[in-house]
Every structure is written in C-alpha cells, then in structure tokens.
C-alpha cells in the first residue's frame, strides 16, 4: 500500500511532460523569448523613426524660418527710403514741398512708432493693467 515517494514524483513529472499542455507552454515560452528579443529591435526602429520625424520637423522649421527671413528682408526692402522716394516721385508724382507751414493744434501728439514686435525685448511688453477694470473684466469672458 505504501508507495515509493521518488517513484511517485517521477511519475508525476512524466505525466506532466506527457500532458498535452506542455508543448504549448514551451511554444509560448519560446515565442515570449522571441518577442522579448525583438523588443530592442522594435524600440530601436521606433527611435530611428522618431528621430527621422524630428529631423524632418527640424528641416521644416528651418524652411519656415528661411521663409520668414526672406519675408522680413522683402519688407525691409519695400520700406527703404530709396524705394519710398521712387514710388512717391515716379508713381504718385509727388514733389518736395517748397515751404513747410506749421500750425499749432490743441491735440495730443501721436504715439511714436515703436520697434517691430520681433525686436522688442521681453521686458517691454505692455501689461494688461494699463486697461480699465471693465475692459479687463470683459477679457475674462470666453
């Protein structure tokens, strides 16, 4: 009646190996190992793709910057004194005044032209506290 414990353990192992689920388990384990081995490859691939996208976006940014600079240069060329004078005299047929007449008017002088926003330092931005309270309150509305 008393069974040999070693024989029982060997029998159990034999049954386990012979059970239909073991090959499946092994296959799954192998697949898991395979996938795990692929992970670094996938990670590297994603990193490369992302890096490529970043470079592409950087190139796009450089392109836009170049366009902005070209436009700024065009604006500067259009506002040059020589061009303004040429347009005024050639196209608009304007002439220099023979005499300048000054008339004092009781009105506030216009604000001086300020530098373009791009050229203003961060400390020079106007703060909303300059506005009246009701205008600031309206600013909270969606």
């Amino acid at each position: 009646m008393t069974a040999n414990p070693r024989a029982a353990r060997a029998h159990g192992l034999d049954r386990l190996l012979r059970s239909p689920s073991m090959p499946v388990l092994l296959a799954l384990a192998l697949a898991a190992i395979g996938i795990a081995a692929l992970l670094p490859l996938l990670q590297s691939s994603w990193a490369t793709t992302t890096n490529g996208h970043i470079h592409e976006l950087e190139r796009e940014k450089v392109d836009w910057q170049a366009r902005v600079q070209e436009l700024e240069a065009s604006t500067a060329a259009l506002s040059s004194l020589d061009r303004i004078e040429k347009e005024a005299t050639d196209r608009l047929k304007m002439v220099y005044p023979a005499k300048t007449i000054y008339i004092t008017v009781p009105a506030q002088a216009p604000e001086e032209a300020s530098l373009p926003p791009r050229l203003l330092g961060p400390g020079q931005e106007t703060t909303p506290t300059d506005k009246p309270w009701w205008e600031r309150a309206l600013g909270w509305l969606p």
Binding site: N51, D63, A66, Q69, E70, A73, L81, Y102, L115, L120
Partner: protein, 577 residues
C-alpha cells in the same frame, strides 16, 4: 570479406587527412586575420569606419540685425545655401554634365566651369555655388541631383543700400564681421558656431539611427543704433553733392544730438559698395575706414570756438572786450597774420570770432597762457579718443609744454589758437561743438542705443563726461555763433525758418615736414536751432578745387541739413502760428 571492410574503415585515407589539415590551416589563417583586424587593429578600423559614417557640420545661428534708431533694418541676415558636390559621384562625365546643366539652370553660372570645380577638387567635396536663396535651394533640393547637397548658411543684406557703409562695415565669407560695427560687435551679433555630427549611409545620405547631433547656438542679438536713416541719407546726399560740386577729394558730415551725444548721422566720402567690397585691391582698403573717427586733421578757424570758450569761461574776456588788431601778431621770430592779411584796428572779442581773425585768437591765447589754454583744450576732449566704442578711433595730436617739453614752442600756442599745428578727429570737433550747444556739458558721443538679445534688452544711456565750460560762457559763444551765421552771405547760408549758429573753418593741410600743401580743408560747424539747440553738425570737405572757404563750400550743406532735420523733428519754425 567483413574483416577487410572493417580494416578499410578504420584506416583513414591520407588524402582526406591532408584536406582536413589544409582546411584547418585555412581556418586558422582566417581566425588569425580576424584577430588582427578585430582585436589588434580595432582602434584604427573603428575610427576609419566612424570617419566614413559620421560627418561633422557647423551649425550657425541667425546673425543679429543692425537697425536704425527707429527700428528700420540697415543690415539683416537671411538664410543662404552653398551647393556642395561629392567628387566621386560626378566621375561619370555624362551624368555629371546633366547634373551640372540642371544646377546651372537654378543657380546660374557656367556648366563646364561648375563641373571642373566639382571634379577637379582635391577634397572629398567641393563648393560649386554660394549664397543661393531659399527658393533656389528649394529647387535644388527638389531636383534630387546625385552627389549634390546643400549647406545652410546666411547672407547679409542691406535694405538701405550703401547707407552708412563705413560705420556698419561688412562680414566675410565665414559670416564674421571684418570692419565697422559688424567687427566691433561681432560677439554680440553672432553667438558663434556649434558642431553637429550626423550619420550617413554609403551613398552619403543622412541616417537618423543615432542622435549624435548638437543643438544650434542661440541667435545673435539685434543692435539698435542711434543713427537715423533719414538723417544719415540726408547727410550722405549733401556730402556727395558738395564733393561733386567742388571737385573735392572727400569729406565727412556728422550730425550729433547735443543733449545726449547720440550720433544721428556719420557720413564719409568716398565710400564703398557694401554688397561687393573689393578686398583684392589693397589701395582701396582705406575706403573701409570710418574717416569720421580715424581721420585726423587740422581744424582751422572752427577751433577758435574753443579759444573763445576758454577766454569767456576763465573770465579773462567778455564779448565786448576790446583789443587792437594791427594785422600782425609776433611770437618770438614768427609773425601771425589774418587769413586775408587784413588789419582791422579796434575790435571786440565778438568781432574776433565773427571775422575769424587769427591775430585775435593768438592774442587771446597769449592772454590766457599755455597752461590755461591747453587745460580747456583737454576739457573739450581733444587729445584723447571720445570713447564711442568704435575701433580705430584716433586721439588727435595736441602738443603741450608738459607733454612735449622739447618740441613745443611758444608759436605753437598761437597757431593752435586758430586750429593749426594740432590735429583732431571730426567726431571730437562735433562733440566739442555739442558741448557748447549743451550749456557747456560735454556728452560722450555714442552710436549704439540698444542691444536686443534673446534674453532681453540692454539700453545704453547717455553719459556726461564733464562740464567743459559754464552755461553762461556757452550761451555767450552761441550768441556769437549766431552773429557769424547772420554775417554770412545769404547765398550760402539762408534759412529764414530757423535761427542757426555756427562757425566757418578753412584750414591748410600739413605735408608732414612742417610745411603746408596748397590745398585746404573747408568746414562748417553749426548748431540748430539757436534758442534750444537740438543738433550739432560738422561739415568737412577735403581739398575743394574751386574755392577753399568753408562759408562757400561747407555752409550750404549745413543749412540744408539743419532745415531738413528740424522740419523732420517737427520743431516749429519762426513765425509759425
């Protein structure tokens, strides 16, 4: 039978043994070679491989702009592209010719020359075209030409043309400032170059496997000058016209804000083309100098203002102090005479300055003595650079009994009193004039108003150097300068809208051996308006061929500039409602 077979299987064939031995030897050789390549010479081949795969590129940031005081750009940078061609890829003449033809269609130039540049280079790559615009670069990129790549850089543009060329200066091919503000403020305008390493495949295409790159440096700061483009253009036009009219060899005009010392215009002639400065001809190198600060000259009668200022401020004379002009003033063995050899009899100090009498100036300096006279000369800033921060600024030459005890003679005091025998720069002269117009307070001339960088802006404040003379003495001089202007022929200086003040100067040009040339420097130093001076203007015309007089050659330019600037400043004219 069985025995024989078993014996045959046990005894190996000697041929098989030899083959195995050979294979083993070959494997051993391969293993040894691999050991040599991969272990012993690992470092060499690893670095060679990296050299092939990796390439270092310079990353440059946008160079800061130079703006006038109202923010209008005088020099800006735009993206520009250089075209590089890989020599090996263009070895096939047919393919190279086709690619060159397409490239020429976009960038211009000659296809044969371009191919020769690309294939004749001793380096791996050659630059075949420079400074392409963004649109051109886009076209090159879209063409997908073999072995062609674009390198980003930048190009300097000057929207106002050659305005203030000597002051602004220019940059070299490496985008580094070579002269002018571009060179003086190089570290502000440019934040330098950083390196970026990229990985590429066997065909030279960029790969993104590694992120071994660096980040581009911060953009350079923008510089706002005190120069006003309108006034600068006006000054340049007047200077050019005066030089042309009087067939002069050159000249300088400076417009200074008397209350702050801010330089509103600094024009010199001859100038150069900012877009294409000729660096190949050494004889033209002088054109790049900012003559307003580097050029030293004997100021002539304009300097009598300093002599008069010293006399009034020291209390030795007043505007109505009398003196007798016999037409000559003797100093040791030398005789001083008036420019027109006249003898005017009883005169006042006001008449001395109004008639610009050399004998009177010599008398006044003699009355003061050398110590007091040269003290006032130094108080007005002569003999030392003004400290604008612009490089190459000359100090001028003022010999005094203490600075040159062996060389200085008593006659030097007399000649110095009417602006001969000493040298000044145009900027020193206009700064001293500005001090007289500013109640005797000498301001340091400055040209940079603000620096606007990525982290914020830095504003440069006006700086008072010293009270050169009292406000009362300055006012007296201003009134006498108004007398000078009113006594000039209206043909040369007639601005009824505003009351102006000034002094003419006609100076001989020293040869350097103690004698003088037959040519002159004509100048006019003026202030406007008289009541509340806003600007000081120095007009200096070198070697006019027709007439030498400052009243004829330089004063008309001052009159036009003063009128235009005061109108531009919205300063009401006389008789305005």
């Amino acid at each position: 039978m069985r025995h024989a077979t078993a014996q045959g299987a046990l005894k190996p064939n000697w041929r098989i043994g030899a083959l195995a031995l050979l294979l083993a030897l070959a494997l051993l050789l391969v293993a040894a070679r691999l050991f040599q390549l991969q272990v012993m010479e690992h470092n060499y081949y690893a670095s060679a491989a990296r050299e092939n795969q990796l390439r270092e590129e310079n990353l440059t940031s946008r160079r800061g702009a130079i703006l006038d005081r109202n923010g209008y750009p005088l020099a800006v940078s735009v993206e520009a592209y250089d075209v590089m061609v890989e020599k090996e890829v263009w070895q096939d003449p047919t393919k190279a010719a086709a690619a060159a033809q397409k490239l020429v269609g976009i960038a211009g130039g000659d296809a044969a020359a371009l191919t020769a540049t690309a294939t004749g280079s001793g380096a791996f790559e050659a630059i075949v075209a420079r400074g392409l615009t963004y649109e051109q670069a886009l076209a090159v990129r879209e063409a997908g030409l073999p072995g062609v790549r674009l390198v980003e850089g930048s190009r300097r543009l000057h929207p106002e043309g050659n305005l203030a060329a000597q002051l602004l200066g220019f940059v070299g091919l490496d985008n580094q400032g070579l002269t002018g503000i571009e060179a003086d403020m190089e570290t502000t305008l440019s934040s330098g170059v950083s390196k970026r390493t990229i990985e590429r495949d066997g065909l030279g295409n960029e790969l993104y496997l590694l992120d071994v790159g660096g980040s581009p440096p911060q953009p350079g700061a923008d510089i706002v000058l005190t120069i006003d483009r309108y006034i600068q253009r006006l000054a340049e036009r007047e200077l050019s016209a005066a030089v042309k009219k009087h067939q002069a060899s050159g000249g300088t005009i400076i417009v200074l804000d008397v209350k702050t010392g801010a330089i509103r215009a600094m024009a010199s002639f001859p100038s150069f083309d900012l877009a294409n400065p000729d660096l190949s001809d050494e004889s033209k190198a002088g054109l790049f100098r900012n003559l307003a600060i580097t050029d030293q000259y004997e100021p002539g009668s304009v300097f009598k203002l300093i002599t008069g200022a010293a006399g009034f401020d020291s209390g030795l004379v007043g505007p109505q102090t009398p003196w007798y002009d016999s037409g000559v003033f003797k100093v040791e063995s030398s005789t001083i005479r008036n420019w027109d050899l006249s003898a005017n009899g009883n005169q006042t100090v006001t008449q001395l300055l109004a008639k610009s009498l050399n004998t009177g100036a010599a008398w006044l300096s003699d009355l003061m003595g050398p110590e007091r006279f040269y003290d006032y000369v130094a108080r007005f800033g002569f003999g030392e650079p003004t400290g604008t921060g612009l490089s190459g600024e000359a100090a001028g030459l003022v010999r005094t009994p203490s600075s040159d005890p062996d060389g200085w003679r008593a006659v030097d005091l007399a000649t110095n009193s009417f602006g001969q025998g000493l040298t000044v720069t145009p900027l020193q002269m206009v700064a001293a004039l500005g001090a007289i117009a500013n109640g005797g307070l000498l301001m340091r001339p400055y040209v940079v108003q603000e620096v606007i960088g990525p982290q914020g802006s830095e504003i440069y404040q006006p700086e008072a150097i010293r009270q050169a003379i009292s406000p009362q003495a300055a006012r007296t001089l201003m009134d006498i300068m108004a007398v000078v202007v009113n006594s000039l022929t209206p043909l040369y200086l007639n601005v009824p809208e505003y009351e102006l003040a000034g002094k003419t100067g006609t100076a001989s040009i020293a040869k350097g051996d103690g004698t003088y040339k037959d040519t002159y420097i004509s100048s006019f130093a003026g202030v406007a308006p008289l009541d509340d001076p806003s600007i000081a203007v120095l007009v200096k015309i070198d070697e006019p061929k027709d007439v030498p007089w400052g009243s004829v050659v330089a004063a008309p330019a001052f009159a036009r500039i003063a009128k235009a600037v005061l109108t531009y400043y919205n300063i009401p004219s006389r008789g305005s409602e």
